[in-house]
């Protein structure tokens, strides 16, 4: 029992790191994905084509490879070394380590690429009539986007987005490619140091519970937007 509590407490530490990676990835990738989706829909080719290429590369190569490249390549090419947090607040500095930041950058741009395609699909699925109705009523482009289109897009993309977001929490374990401390990492450490295998399955339960909560949240959002059909 004592061992179990110890395992749970350390897995919780690991989970907290995984959660930070998860939430910060969302914070950066959602707006970045929206910007990228506008770029890929732009009529201006010098903007559209490079961004489409970037999306292609990000979706077309393994995330594990991208994490590796983003962390090691700058140093290998003698460009720069990822900066280290130095606030003097030990917990902060060790949680948001160099490795964590590199992983976060990799996750944020990778997921932004996936999100941008979901956003693009969502935005393009809104009928032209909605834009035209806004136009003939004298609305500005931004009013049309934010007051009319956005909520309809949100309603449409909740199912694919919830899929991606659930994948993201499990993908955070890929960060241990570059030895970022997170949940699976901690669980594996019980194996190496203490010879315990079952903490790995407890870690699985952590993911499962969190995904359960996310599922409830997304269902709730879907219900909330159930009042209209578009």
């Amino acid at each position: 029992m004592e061992v179990f509590l110890e395992v749970c407490s350390r897995l919780t530490d690991g989970f907290i790191n995984a959660f930070f990676l998860f939430i910060l990835t969302l914070v950066f990738s959602l707006p970045l994905g929206l910007i990228m989706s506008f770029c890929t829909m732009s009529k201006f080719a010098p903007l559209r084509i490079p961004v489409k290429l970037i999306v292609w590369v990000l979706r077309g190569t393994p995330l594990m490879l991208q994490i590796f490249a983003i962390f090691y390549l700058p140093g290998l090419l003698r460009l720069f070394v990822w900066p280290q947090m130095n606030t003097g607040w030990e917990w902060f500095d060790s949680t948001f380590s160099t490795r964590f930041i590199a992983a976060l950058v990799a996750f944020a741009i990778n997921y932004a690429a996936y999100f941008s395609e979901i956003f693009r699909g969502g935005i393009q699925s809104i009928s032209q009539g909605q834009y035209e109705a806004g136009q003939v009523l004298g609305m500005t482009k931004s009013q049309i986007f934010f007051k009319i289109v956005l909520l309809q897009v949100v309603k449409r993309i909740i199912p694919p987005m919830s899929n991606e977001i659930i994948t993201l929490i499990k993908d955070t374990s890929l960060a241990n490619t570059i030895a970022v401390y997170e949940l699976i990492y901690e669980a594996k450490e019980f194996m190496t140091v203490d010879g315990l295998i079952w903490p790995l399955f407890v870690a699985g339960a952590f993911y499962l519970i969190f995904v359960g909560l996310l599922t409830i949240l997304f269902n709730h959002m879907e219900k909330k937007l159930d009042y209209f059909r578009s």
């Binding site: 903007l47 140093g75 720069f80 070394v81 594996k188 190496t192 010879g195 295998i197």
Partner: protein
């Protein structure tokens, strides 16, 4: 939009400039400038592991800390992914790999080694109730850590037919426990610290199945000027008896020939 791109580029370049001072030709100078020696390890008892207070300890960890002290800098031990150790060194993420690393010829083409300070061998681990003998290993299914000395032994010394390469030495042990492999080839140092205990209580080291005559060394970037300082440090610590005491504490076999040269 173009402005945003320009801004991102500018920020990246600024970061490159700000941090480029860390990328210097002399490792000794850059370590002293930074005020810290960054040592890459994995959790690998008895060489590097965390004690109950969460502090690094172990044969290698203690030595690394003493070496940093001698340089007059802090010792920062970071966990790396073992398969990435060359990239970690070459991308300047770490200054040394000090983790019971087997100094193989292949690895020597990519990084430099310090004077060898310890000896190692690979052993075969099987289930306690296994009927396999050392003669059966070549025909058994073997699991090894990818890129490890054990993998080299399995391929070149044992010339085994069925080799499963997994990502960590413990995973190789797990394969045996789970019955997906019959034999795991792992470091004797590692096997002695873990086999027969905890979840690995059902495992044993196979009698008479010891392979290779390996040496442990500290890994450095090719051409690093830290090598001279490190070799001198290791030899001095052997001469004054510190190494012998540590070796006894952690049951590590010193490479006395190399250290006394």
């Amino acid at each position: 939009m173009k402005k945003i791109f320009a801004l991102i580029l500018a920020v990246m370049m600024a970061v490159a400039l700000l941090t480029s001072c860390g990328v210097s030709d002399s490792d000794v100078a850059s370590v002293k400038d930074a005020g810290k020696l960054v040592v890459g390890v994995t959790v690998y008892p008895p060489m590097d592991y965390l004690d109950e207070n969460g502090e690094w300890t172990g044969f290698d960890a203690e030595l690394a800390q003493q070496f940093a002290e001698e340089l007059g800098v802090n010792c920062q031990i970071v966990i790396i992914t073992w398969g990435n150790k060359v990239a970690e060194l070459n991308s300047n993420q770490i200054d040394l790999v000090w983790n019971g690393m087997t100094a193989s010829d292949e690895l020597g083409e990519q990084i430099d080694f310090s004077v060898s300070y310890a000896k190692n061998a690979q052993v075969a681990v099987v289930l306690k109730d296994s009927t396999l003998t050392s003669g059966d290993v070549a025909t058994a299914t073997i699991s090894v850590e990818n890129g490890s000395a054990g993998a080299t032994v399995a391929e070149e010394t044992i010339k085994a037919a069925n080799i499963n390469k997994v990502t960590a030495q413990v995973d190789a042990l797990n394969e045996v426990l789970a019955g997906t492999s019959q034999v795991a080839i792992v470091d004797i140092t590692m096997a002695q610290s873990i086999v027969g205990k905890g979840a690995y209580a059902d495992l044993q080291i196979l009698d008479g199945a010891s392979y290779g005559d390996e040496i442990f060394a500290v890994g450095l970037r090719k051409g690093s000027d830290l090598k001279a300082e490190l070799d001198a440090f290791l030899k001095a610590k052997y001469a004054d008896g510190t190494l012998t005491a540590l070796a006894e504490e952690y049951s590590v076999g010193l490479n006395t020939d190399a250290l006394s040269k």
